[in-house]
Structure formats: C-alpha cells, structure tokens
C-alpha cells in the first residue's frame, strides 16, 4: 500500500489550507457538465471539481485529487457514495482529522 502521499480529508473550509496538496472530499453533486462538476461540500459551501467522471455520478461522490485552488480540486479518482450520506459525521471527521488527531492521518 502506497502511503507516500496521503490525501487529506477536507471540506470547503479546510481545502484552502491544502492548496497544491493531495486531498479527498465528499461532495453532493449539484451540477455536472463540460468537464466540471459543481459540488456542495459537507460544510455547506461550494467546491468545484475539475475533470470528467468516468461513470454516471450518484448523489454523493468522493473525490481524490490535487487541490489546485482554494475552491477547486483536480480530480484523479471518483467514487460513488450513493444517494444517502451523513454529511454531518463526515464533516466532523474532517475537523478531527485535521485538528487534534492530525497525527493519525498525515
């Protein structure tokens, strides 16, 4: 298992801190066309995902990629997470994983 470049769990607020880094985020798909997917992050803000998903997207999708700006991610891996997802819990995870338990994740 390649652990050399772990992807940081982010929401919109945390994305700003990891520009240029490999990140992962779960978004709710709002709009998808022309190589760009508009998504709502788990902390209720907008994230732009660049890239074309290989398959039709479900309501919630996990994106792993490089944060190329404070509000966008260049996607490398798309994973469908289905149509129901507990965004609150994921958001808490993002905060814990980047806060007091950062050492367990990065």
């Amino acid at each position: 298992m390649d652990t050399s470049n772990p992807a940081v769990f982010v929401n919109a607020e945390l994305l700003r801190l990891y520009v240029g880094r490999r990140v992962r985020a779960v978004i709710q798909v709002l709009q998808s066309d022309g190589g760009v997917v508009m998504g709502k992050s788990t902390d209720e803000n907008q994230i732009v995902v660049k890239g074309s998903p290989p398959a039709p997207l479900s309501k919630f999708v996990e994106i792993v990629g490089i944060a190329d700006s404070e509000k966008s991610i260049r996607a490398e891996v798309w994973s469908n997470f289905g149509d129901s997802f507990d965004t609150y819990t994921y958001n808490q995870l993002c905060q814990l994983a980047n806060g007091e338990f950062k050492h367990l994740f990065l």
Partner: protein, 623 residues
C-alpha cells in the same frame, strides 16, 4: 417625651412569660459579688418594679454606659427562676432603646402594686392585634404623643385582651427598615423589602380536604440580586392579585416567612413569603435602576451534559430549528401541545429544547415564523428543567420564562458570534436526536467489561448494550420442540416430548397433538475488539440473527437433510455486526454459579447513528 413601657411586664415575667420581649426601664444598677462581678438591676414597667440579675456577658453594657439608671431597654432573652422562695429574673440579652430617660410612671415594688396588675399575658391570644390596618410607611402618628423609634428587634405583637380598648398601648408606626431579601428569615421581626416582580404565576384554584381555595405566587428580585417567592392564598389573593404587575417595583412588608416549597420554588432562597390580609404591598412608581429586570445564571450548553436530571437552570442560545407543534397525550389523560427546538451556542454543542403547552402557541409559534423567514433568533430560557431521557435535553415547566432576542449582553454576544461564523460552526447535539435503539438509560459496554466488571452478579440482572459481531453459531440443538397451544393470549411454548408414534405431548397443557412448533434456543459467540463471549438467543432474537424461522432451518437440516444449504445459511449470517441488548444474570447450574447472557434484542447497526455515538465518545475522550 414620654414613652410607654410594656404594661404588666414585671408581673408577666414573674408568671413565667419569657417571650414577650417587653420594654422596661432600669431604675437602679448595683454591682454585687465578691469573687465575680455581677450587676443587679431594678427594672420597672412604670407600675411595678423588680430586681433582675444581669448575665455576666452583658456586663459591658453597664460599664460602657449603654445601660444606666433611667435607660429604657427591651428585654430579649431572659428567664425567671425561683430561688429561696423568691423569683429572680436573669437578663441574658437586651437592647438599649433609650439610653437616658426620666423615670416613667410611678413604679412600686411588685409586692405593693396589688393584684390589679397581675393578669399575665396569655401567649396565644392573637385576636384583633391592634395594628393600624394598611400602614403606609413614613406616616408618623402625631396625635398619639408616642415617641416613634426603630427598634432593632420587634416582638411578635401580642396585646393583652384586657387592654384592647383602653389604656395606652405601645404602637410602633415607624417604617420598618428595608433589608436585603437575602437577610429575610422567620426570626427577623419587622422587615420590609423593596423589589421588582420578575415573574407572576397564574391564579390557581384547588380543592383539598379543607375545601376550595385559590393561590397565586410571584417572584421578587432586589438590588442585591436576592430572590424570593411570595405566595398568597384565598382572601389574600383578592387583595393583591391585580395590584402585582411584572417588572414593577414594590415595597412589601408584614408577611410571614416559611420554608420554601422546593418542588415548585426553584429560586435560590430557603424561605418563601406568605402574605396575609395585614401585609402591605406598595407600588414604587419611580424607576429603580438599581434593581435589575431579571436575573439569569446562564450555563453554556456543553455544561448541560453534566447537569443532573431534573435540575433547573437558565440557558441562552441561538434557535437553529423549530419543529411543528404536535399533540401529546400526557400520563393524566390530558392532551397538550409539544414542540421541539434546537439551540446552539459557542460551546460547540447544541441542545434540544422541548416546549410544552402554551409555550408552543406563544413563543413557539413566533420562533417558527422567525425561522421560516430566515432569521435565527436568540432565545433565553429561565428555569428550564434538565431531562435525561435521550442524551440531555431541556424542557419547559410552569415557572419557565422564555425571552426572544432579549436585551442582554449575553444575547448580543451570541448574535455576534453566530453572524460571524458561529452559524456554520460544527456542533454536536447533546440530545442525540438520532437514538440507536431508542432505549432509556442505555448503557454501552464492551465484551471484556462484562467479565471485568462482574456484571450480572448482583441480585438484579444487568441490562447493557454491546456492539459486536457474531463469530460462531452452534448448530447442534439450535432449536427445541415447543407446544403450540395457546394459554390465554400467549403460546404455551413449553418443551414437548414425543409420545407414542409421531404425536407430541405437552405436560403443562396435558394434551397431545400432531404438529409441534419449533423455537430457537441459539447458542452463539459474539466478539468485539476487546473480547468474546457466549450468548443465548431465543425465538425473536434468533430470527433476527439467522434471518429465517427455526422451523425452516429445522426442516432444512433434519427433513430435507440438505447440509450444504444449511451450512450456507449459517455461514452467511456469521460476521454480521449488531447492536446487542443483553441481559446478564448469574444463575445456579447444578452446583455452579454461571453468568448467563441472553440476547434481548439484536439491532443492525446504523452507521450514521453509530458514528454520532463514536463522535460523542471522542469528544469526551479528549476532555
């Protein structure tokens, strides 16, 4: 100026009345005693005189000149003891009222005064105390030629009935001193308080063994922050109910102090005032800024988690959601309304607030409209009750008060925090709105804790919840043959034995039948990160775990003898995770004590609610 001493005081003391706290005059003081300094006083009630010994602790009064010949004093603590066929009065405590005064009256030694003055004060006679009704403070009584002064301690007023209509009776019309509410106590004597009404209760009618009655209460707050409840019954209600208005300031006096009724009264005062017909309540029209409008002691929502169930507290938070009113049937059969709101504050926690009854229609309705229009109002709750049914939540009680967007520094602080980002700050609900299993008092344990904590060993069984995985299912004797006959509305279910041929016999029902029922008696092993243990699952939980009826499995194994299919089913149920509700009890098996664990419920794990639970654990872990 002439002063009236308590009539018949000397005679009363001699007859044994040591409670009257009379006013007497000291006519003479003599130092007696060779080894110890003792003062002997000659006391007069303006008609008779008597000697009294001064307790040595009061010697100073004489020495400092506070008590001299001619002083008018009030006896506070005193006794009268017979010594050598004489009665000796000993003064244990007294107050100097007038340090120097001409001799009042024409006192003679008691023996000379004759029998006229010997009627003792009957202690219990309280009929028609001659107070001027409706005393208003500040009004001196000029016509009576009586000197007014503020005594430090007032006796309970007990005029002798003989003197009701004639003779001068000491009447004190001086204004009682205004004291802080915190200083009120039943032994105070005359008192007056100036305070603002912070809450006015409803007029309640009741019916008890003594008949019908009515009562209402109101709460007071004074400038020192002292609070006290005032209660009025029956006729007193009529006198004061309309006069009392919330947030007005009143001067109140002449009520009785009794212990506060802690069931209803949650103010920080061990006493409660009970007004009588003779009590006075006077409105103070000028604004008194020194008395706050309302007193709160807000706690951050995070502290509610550790508050005791049923405790009363004040909270303030931003309303983030308001649910519609629902009708609820209460235990007494009455229907009421209930609304649930969620409050959030800067402590990183949110809490559920339950509104009951009128609160739903008044404040609840208003809050719902405000939320619907997009605003998030600040709500202050005074005297909310902590409830620990699911997590910790707050509910309204009859004495609760709600304030929407109050004019308080805490409210503006919250507003600022919320508008500047607090709105989006993550917040964990301490009321755990998504309840796994929804059981009351759910205790979560790990498998190893069952043994480590010796659960099941006390005389009552332990009920716990464990999240664990099925790691093994015993396939021999996974069910038993049960009696299908009904006893009342329940199935007998006793184990039946085979009678002749293919029939079954139940000992309890004493009947034979062709077909028996098959019920689970499953032995399984469950495991979590800490350890593993054996559990027993009966019919319902067996079905939850295996996903099919005992009869199906029995037939599959023993009739069709399809071991492969049977094994496949069993294997497919292994390693599924459940939230097990377990009953643990130590029982005697033969001559051995064994801890028996029964699965009462096997719920599948909802990842969402389990995550919330874990998040909660994490937050507690890091504290």
């Amino acid at each position: 100026m002439p002063v009236n001493l308590t009539p018949n005081a000397i005679a009363a003391i001699e007859s044994g009345d040591v409670n009257a706290k009379p006013l007497v005059q000291v006519l003479d003081i003599k130092l007696i005693g060779s080894t110890q300094e003792r003062y002997r006083l000659l006391l007069s009630d303006s008609v008779s005189t008597q000697h009294a010994m001064l307790a040595t602790q009061l010697n100073d009064r004489v020495k400092s000149g506070r008590v001299t010949k001619g002083s008018v004093v009030q006896l506070i603590d005193y006794i009268c003891s017979p010594v050598q066929n004489r009665k000796i009065i000993v003064v244990l405590n007294m107050e100097t009222i007038i340090p120097d005064c001409e001799i009042i009256g024409n006192p003679k030694s008691l023996a000379e005064s004759g029998s006229a003055a010997q009627t003792p004060f009957p202690n219990k006679n309280l009929e028609h105390p001659t107070r001027a009704g409706g005393n208003h403070f500040g009004a001196q009584n000029p016509g009576k030629n009586v000197q007014s002064f503020p005594p430090t301690v007032q006796p309970p007023y007990q005029p002798p009935p003989n003197y009701r209509n004639h003779g001068p009776i000491l009447k004190n019309d001086a204004p009682a001193r205004i004291i802080p509410i915190a200083a009120l106590n039943p032994y105070q004597g005359r008192w007056a308080i100036k305070a603002r009404v912070t809450a006015k209760g409803d007029l309640r009618r009741y019916n008890n063994a003594r008949g019908d009655g009515k009562v209402f209460s109101f709460d007071l707050l004074d400038s020192d922050g002292g609070e006290i409840r005032v209660t009025c019954f029956n006729a007193v209600v009529d006198r004061f109910y309309d006069a009392i208005e919330v947030s007005k300031v009143y001067l109140i006096s002449k009520g009785s102090l009794k212990p506060a009724q802690k069931n209803y009264n949650h103010l920080k005062n061990e006493w409660e005032i009970f007004l009588e017909t003779s009590s006075t309540v006077e409105l103070c029209p000028e604004e008194d800024d020194s008395i706050p409008k309302q007193q709160f002691s807000f706690r951050p929502i995070s502290e509610i988690e550790s508050a005791d169930n049923n405790s009363i507290l004040d909270i303030i938070g931003v309303v983030i959601s308001v649910n519609p009113s629902v009708p609820i049937l209460r235990k007494n059969g009455m229907e009421t309304q209930r609304r649930i709101l969620n409050l959030k504050d800067g402590s990183g926690r949110s809490v559920e607030l339950t509104l009951w009854g009128e609160f739903c229609n008044r404040e609840g309705q208003k809050l719902e409209e405000m939320i619907n229009s997009g605003s998030f109002p600040v709500l202050a709750v005074k005297s909310g009750k902590v409830n620990d049914f699911s997590g910790k939540s707050i509910g309204t009680i009859s004495s609760t008060q709600l304030f929407i967007n109050p004019d308080l520094p805490e409210a503006s602080g919250l507003r600022n925090w919320f508008d500047r980002g607090g709105k989006n700050a993550a917040s964990v609900s301490i009321s755990r709105e998504i309840m796994p299993g929804g059981s009351k008092n759910e205790i979560r344990k790990t498998v190893s804790q069952i043994k480590d904590e010796g659960l099941g060993r006390s005389d009552k069984p332990d009920w716990i919840t464990v999240k664990a995985t099925i790691s093994f299912i015993k396939t021999d004797n996974f069910c038993y043959t049960a009696c299908p006959l009904m006893i009342g509305d329940r199935q007998c279910n006793k184990k039946v034995t085979k009678s002749r041929n293919t029939r079954w016999l139940c000992d309890r029902c004493n009947q034979e039948f062709e077909e028996c029922d098959y019920r689970y008696l499953l032995q399984a092993q469950i495991q979590d990160h800490s350890g593993l243990t054996w559990v027993t699952a009966f019919q319902e939980t067996g079905e939850e775990i295996l996903g099919c009826s005992a009869k199906e499995l029995y037939l599959l194994k023993y009739e069709e003898q399809d071991d492969e299919k049977f094994g496949g089913i069993i294997r497919s149920r292994l390693f599924s995770q459940y939230l097990f509700r377990l009953k643990i009890k130590e029982e005697l098996y033969g001559d051995e004590q064994r801890v028996k664990i029964t699965v009462v419920k096997a719920d599948s794990v909802s990842y969402s609610s389990e995550s919330r639970y874990t998040l909660d654990l994490i937050s507690k872990f890091t504290k």
